[in-house]
Symmetry: C2
DNA sequence: TGTACATCAGTGAACGCGCGTTCACTGATGTAC
DNA sequence: TGTACATCAGTGAACGCGCGTTCACTGATGTAC
């Protein structure tokens, strides 16, 4: 989409267009760069600088969007989880998200986010709180914080290991089955 | 170290020198590239091609070395783990490794390894088996495979989350304490 | 309602960078006779 | 023991690449009077 095809010098909502172009590229597994995103949005290489301070800012916005999407995915599961197996479905959904949108998942988690003001940090915090609330509801008597870390860690670890091919499964269904299995196996052993 | 400083045209054991140069760079947090590694080893940019097919081959060798080191770290823990809290120490050691050598950890896990012949794949398998054996020893009656995935997933997930700043702690000791806590919290809840 | 002007949101050329990889080469080493 | 020669392990110049970012710019838009 060049200037003339677009029908005007001004774009309208380039910020959103850049974000969705970038998201499409991540989803298509294409390498991500400011220039490539601009190219895809049909705009000069420097146009994005009107909307994002630098490459990192775009990436950060993308990650934040990813966190919101992930949160939605988890929220759509059986509403307030009431049992251990409801929690297992959280893990299943989490891993499914990672496998469905691997490049986005890497952008969300692949690098330290030290910026305290980062939109991304807030989104990640929201995720953590959702998990903590869920675990607290199911196991009110336990140490919610430790348990939330454990649950998140488990889901996240499995996601990474499947994503990176360290654990393998033939299909998405099999992955789901194994994630469930891993989650429930823990509960079956008691000290 | 240039040719003259080295005292000869031939290096002696350039392969090993490249690997250790690369490892030092990873540990120092410097960006990793074939050229940079060659530079650090005091050798021309093309010399590495005598020993590694391409950049990926070097990276793969590095990752394999990392897996062996990690295995050693875990092996040095309380020998054959006999209890749940021994297993928790595995997780603690795993996360400590990741935090101590973050760039190496990323090389080991950051990308899919699909090459079946890869040295790296073998090393990762060895790790998986160590974990499975350990879990089987402690919980002989359980589904060892599912449990091993769970244990690995949990340790790995916590490692990633701390590494990427999604979970935070003030010091290495606090990280260890929280990892232990997460691991043991799970065991304290029974369905 | 028309016009002057400030501001906004793009352009496009150019910069310097480090990268992976190729190529033809040459100095050093080892081996067969 | 000496010498001819093959092979090995380096060199260094060069390639093309895409990147992030800067700069001075210009076309479009909106607002005040």
């Amino acid at each position: 989409m060049s200037t003339s095809e677009r029908g005007g010098y001004h774009h309208g909502d380039l910020r959103a267009a850049l974000l969705s172009a970038a998201m499409e590229m991540l989803e298509a597994g294409e390498p991500f760069s400011l220039r490539a995103v601009a190219r895809r949005a049909g705009v000069s290489p420097t146009a994005p600088y009107r909307h994002f301070k630098d490459r990192d800012a775009l990436e950060s916005a993308l990650a934040a969007e990813g966190f919101r999407d992930l949160l939605t995915d988890l929220g759509d599961e059986g509403r307030p989880p009431a049992s251990l197996s409801d929690l297992a479905e959280f893990a299943v959904a989490y891993v499914a998200f990672a496998l469905r949108r691997p490049a986005l998942f890497r952008v969300m988690f692949g690098k330290p986010c030290d910026d305290a003001d980062d939109e991304r940090v807030k989104a990640a915090d929201a995720l953590h709180q959702l998990l903590a609330a869920a675990l607290d509801r199911v196991f009110p008597e336990a140490d919610a914080s430790a348990l939330a870390s454990a649950g998140w860690g488990l889901a996240h670890g499995l996601a990474c290991l499947y994503l990176d091919g360290k654990l393998q499964a033939a299909s998405d269904e099999e992955v789901a089955e194994r994630v469930r299995g891993a989650f429930l196996a823990i509960a079956s052993v008691s000290p």
